[in-house]
């Protein structure tokens, strides 16, 4: 144990770098995923088959084949065709594509649960499509989708552990190296586990704050008690529920 602590201490500086890589992947992937989710989520709702078809194919493909296989292709096979990206970029792109596809279902489901009457009111006021979505529909769907996006974000964080597979040195890699150096599986993993837990906790915390804000915008604010903010219950909006696109 004391040996372990010594090695652990000597490796703490590199943990900083590892956390940075994990955060870069998670946040980069999340931003890309969110952009894709919006694009595909609305794309999958359009009436035009020319938009809806490709959106659905994209969603099904990237949800259906698994993240590792996608990472493998982007990192190890595409270069054979002369298409080569930095490892970090590959990680972000792969996470973004995969979770973007899951997220698209969340977006689609949440937008679908905004009452049709809200769309009708926007038509009656003669708003343009983009205006409707930006000012009326999305702000309402947003409050519904955050809890499910939080789940996805946690899964994305955990998915970023595949970084080692593409030569990146993230928290998972750091844990593996610690384990190799100390031969202490349980202690090493506990260290890694706590790091992931803390990151996940902070992310959830941030997302809960976002949700609170979104709800308050809708006049449904629950005036967050300290426990609401600190607690991690991803208060799933009931209408959003039930997996209409519950991702993951």
């Amino acid at each position: 144990m004391s040996d372990f602590l010594q090695t652990l201490t000597s490796r703490l500086p590199s943990l900083g770098d590892a956390i940075l890589v994990t955060l870069e992947l998670t946040l980069g992937g999340a931003v890309l995923a969110m952009a894709l989710a919006l694009l595909l989520g609305f794309g999958a709702r359009t009436r035009s088959l020319w938009v809806r078809g490709p959106s659905r194919v994209f969603i099904e493909f990237f949800r259906g084949t698994s993240l590792v296989v996608q990472i493998f292709w982007i990192f190890y096979v595409l270069p054979v065709f002369g298409f080569k990206m930095e490892a970090l970029a590959v990680g972000i792109v792969a996470l973004g594509l995969n979770f973007g596809a899951y997220g698209a279902e969340v977006v689609r489901g949440s937008v679908a649960s905004v009452p049709a009457s809200q769309w009708e009111a926007t038509i009656a006021l003669n708003m343009s499509w983009f205006h409707r979505v930006r000012r009326v529909i999305f702000p309402q769907a947003w409050a519904l989708m955050i809890p499910m996006l939080t789940n996805l974000l946690i899964q994305l964080l955990k998915g970023s552990a595949l970084a080692y597979y593409i030569t990146l040195h993230d928290v998972n890699f750091w844990t593996t190296q610690l384990r190799r150096a100390t031969s202490e599986t349980v202690y090493s993993f506990t260290a890694g586990l706590l790091v992931y837990f803390v990151i996940a906790y902070l992310l959830t915390w941030g997302m809960n704050a976002l949700e609170e804000r979104a709800k308050r915008r809708l006049g449904r604010g629950t005036r967050p008690s300290l426990r609401d903010v600190v607690g991690l219950r991803p208060a799933v909006g009931t209408a959003a529920i039930t997996g209409r696109g519950t991702a993951a």
Binding site: L125, N126, M127, S128, V136, Q140, G219
Partner: protein, 265 residues
Amino acid sequence: MTSSTSTAQGGVPAIEFKDVVKRFGDNVVLDQLNFSVAKGDRVTLIGPSGSGKTTILRLLMTLEEANGGLILIDGDPYTHEYKGDRWVEIPEKRRRVVRNRVGMVFQQFNLFPNMTVLENIIEAPVNVLGLKKADAVARAEQLLEQVGMSEKRDFKTNQLSGGQQQRVAIARALAMDPEILLLDEVTSALDPEIVADVLGVLREIAETTDITMLLVTHEMQFAREVSNRVLMFDKGQIVEEADPETMFTHPKHERTQEFLKAVLG
């Protein structure tokens, strides 16, 4: 069958339905319906549940697509037109120009919960009509004054009672300065005591403006006071048409007599 392409006042009618067909699946709701509403007219649609009253308003608001026929606003084709002998949809871009002339108030108010009362009202004038924000706010305040909601200006909509929400919804529709106002059972989601309140607001609007109104209501008293023409619908057809006084006191058609008896008790 009984078609009614009436209106005396001359000039182009504000609303005109020509052979309008609307089906839901196999259910033919409107079968070649013809009728028109002159500018400044206040027309009430009455009729049993499922007769197609709401459908007419929704077609006028392009919330439903017709399956045939023409809908004209001020003589302009609105949702579809005939190109040669083909019946084609008018693209959204052109629809939007015409749609600016039409406003609607819904039974369930449909206010935007993510905005305050004021924001609900100025949203479309600023972003659709392109009004300056200051002007839109000034107009909104005037309208809120008119519906007696001035002091709730900055409230979230779900902090309001049903009657208050409906009054804001009316102000929101009026803020677009529509030439035509559609009202679908605007009081039937409200508490009975509050109904009078909202009807009062509408009566005032009817008296002080010359907006063309097309309304569906079960408040026969209100129909009597506000409208100058009542259309009785049944099965997607106009069964009878008269001024309110005649319609409510001496209905001719058997179906109308039956209906009025059930509703007036």
